[in-house]
Amino acid sequence: MIGQGAESTNQRRHSYVDDYVEVGFFTDPTVCIGCKACEVACKEWNEVPDDGFTWSGNSYDNTGRLGASTWRHVLFLEQDRQKGNQVVGSIDGDLSAVASAKADDPFRWVFLSDVCKHCEEAGCLEACPTGSIIRTEVGSVFVQDDVCNGCGYCVVSCPFGVIDRRSEPLPNAGGAFKCTFCYDRQKSGLTPACAKVCPTESIVFGRLDDLRARADERVRQLRENGYNDAQLYDPKETSVRGIHAFFLILGEPGAYGLPPKPDVPTIYLKSAWASAIATAIGAFIATLCAFYFL
């Protein structure tokens, strides 16, 4: 199931854009080796400028967060927990100590390649006042850079904190940027750059329905093999109604900087506008009364 090599959907040409087939990414940290090839391929293909070289001190992650000039980001989590049935702690050359060493000094290193989630109900798309952000034929969320005037409302409307406005002196500054799902490549029948280069197929690109089935199968497989905290991060039960780039995670979403229960801000429209209109009517009445009675 994993490691399909040349047979993988990552390596095949496709016609999803022409056929209006919904596509997605399934990202599986249990096979990620943290090589960051996806980050590099994304930057190279999309000509995303560098946004500074800083040493974070957070494991081997100096990228930090997704942003206007970071569309793929490999997280490095170091946790004092066991990963599946892995052997942990010191062995001292005596293999009989393995069993007792198991719970002694647990440590695991998790790598996860984060990306724009391409939400079913996308906060950025709903918020965009220019119509710059659109839904493509394959169900991804795409920012048309020539239309975006940089109002910044998508930035505060994304429940995942993905999209951001690019600042000076970077090229094309002022506009909002995020992962394009390599829409240009997909139109030509190519796989997104990050999935194409992923050497372990930790990032899998393919039809959304296929990927969901594959992800469920992978979670089941991992749980059988002792990964008790393996779960799918795909918030279908919230107002986001699911994401097109979903993740398998070990442990809690919060540790990955993923919101546990993200909501699309449009669910607040009703109460906020009700309050605004009631206030507007109140202000009218108050002014009329002030002039009539005083």
Binding site: S59, D61, A173, G254, A255, P260, A272, A280
Partner: protein, 312 residues
């Protein structure tokens, strides 16, 4: 320092034995994420808005509510007041547009705001409200000055309706976002911004010399309203999720603004010191708008706030 020594011991041991048997070193601030979220990094993106946006909230609120006062003043034959209020509305509309353009990442593409109308985007609805309000207010002012009353009436009515929405929609603009400190108070925000706008418009007109009872009454109402909203905000706490509204610099900006335009303005009005009350109200309203935008930035940068808001 102890950590460094322990690290040296481990290196030494590894060099001699080829294996390290003991526990590793727990370096404070070291690799394992110990802060909430992912190394304490923000989960959300802080707003990119700069000073233009809170100033726009302030100016737009005054302009919009001035149009309401202009219509009502015309109805009750305060012609001079109506003209001055309409002048404030028109100037405010122009200034608001400039502020909004300056805040854009690409000001030259401002007109793209009017490419589409999206009722689900408060920013889109707001851009259209401001556009039509500006058109009504400027032409209404001209019609009023030229005494073309047949034309002036519909324009006055139009600018009053759009103006009152301009003064309140800004609350919804902040309320319909992913930032907990804002969306948790999405009902309070439009009431608060609307009240502040009405009080500010009345205060500014009083400072411009229109010391009449109706404006004083509106000033009293707004100051009393702001006092109540301050109490509401102090009581309606959501723990870590909206602590940016109560703590630190952003918290004090909001609280300071509320105290100035709430209880202090009310006190000065009751003492009859109307100019002081008006000045306090205006300063408070402006500081408060800065506080709300600042709180959004603080809250979005705080992963604990986002996690707390989404905890079941």
């Amino acid at each position: 320092m102890a950590d460094e020594e322990r690290l040296d011991q481990l290196r030494e041991e590894a060099w001699r034995k080829g294996v390290v048997s003991g526990r590793g070193v727990d370096i404070s601030g070291g690799p394992i994420p110990r802060q909430s979220g992912y190394y304490g990094l923000p989960i959300l993106k802080p707003p990119v808005w700069t000073w233009e946006v809170p100033v726009y909230f302030f100016v737009g609120g005054i302009a919009g509510m001035a149009a309401v006062i202009a219509l009502t003043a015309t109805l009750f034959h305060h012609v001079d007041l109506a003209r001055m209020a309409m002048l404030l509305a028109a100037l405010g509309a122009i200034l608001s547009s400039i502020l909004l353009m300056l805040d854009l990442g690409r000001p030259r593409l401002f007109l793209n705001m009017l490419r589409v109308f999206k009722y689900k985007s408060v920013m889109s609805v707001g851009a259209w409200i401001l556009t039509f309000f500006g058109g009504c207010a400027v032409s209404g002012l001209i019609a009023l000055q030229l005494k073309w009353l047949l034309l002036a009436w519909p324009l006055l009515v139009g600018s009053a309706i759009l103006g009152v929405l301009l003064g309140t929609y800004t609350g919804a603009l902040l309320g319909v976002t992913a930032i907990p400190a804002w969306y948790l108070h999405r009902v309070l925000l439009p009431i608060h911004f609307g009240t502040a706008g009405l009080g500010s418009a009345a205060a500014l007109l009083e400072l411009l010399g229109y010391r009449i009872a109706p404006l004083h009454g509106l000033g009293l109402l707004a100051a009393a309203g702001e006092s109540l909203l301050w109490i509401w905000l102090e009581l309606d706490r959501h723990g870590a999720a909206d602590r940016a509204l109560h703590e630190g610099q952003s918290g004090w900006l909001i609280r300071g603004g509320e105290i100035l335009s709430g209880p202090l303005a009310l006190l000065f009005r009751l003492l009859g010191l109307i100019p002081f009350a008006a000045v306090f109200f205006l300063i408070g309203a402006l500081i408060n708008r800065f506080g709300w935008v600042c709180a959004g930035k603080v809250c979005a940068a705080d992963p604990e706030a986002v996690l707390a808001a989404q905890r079941p």
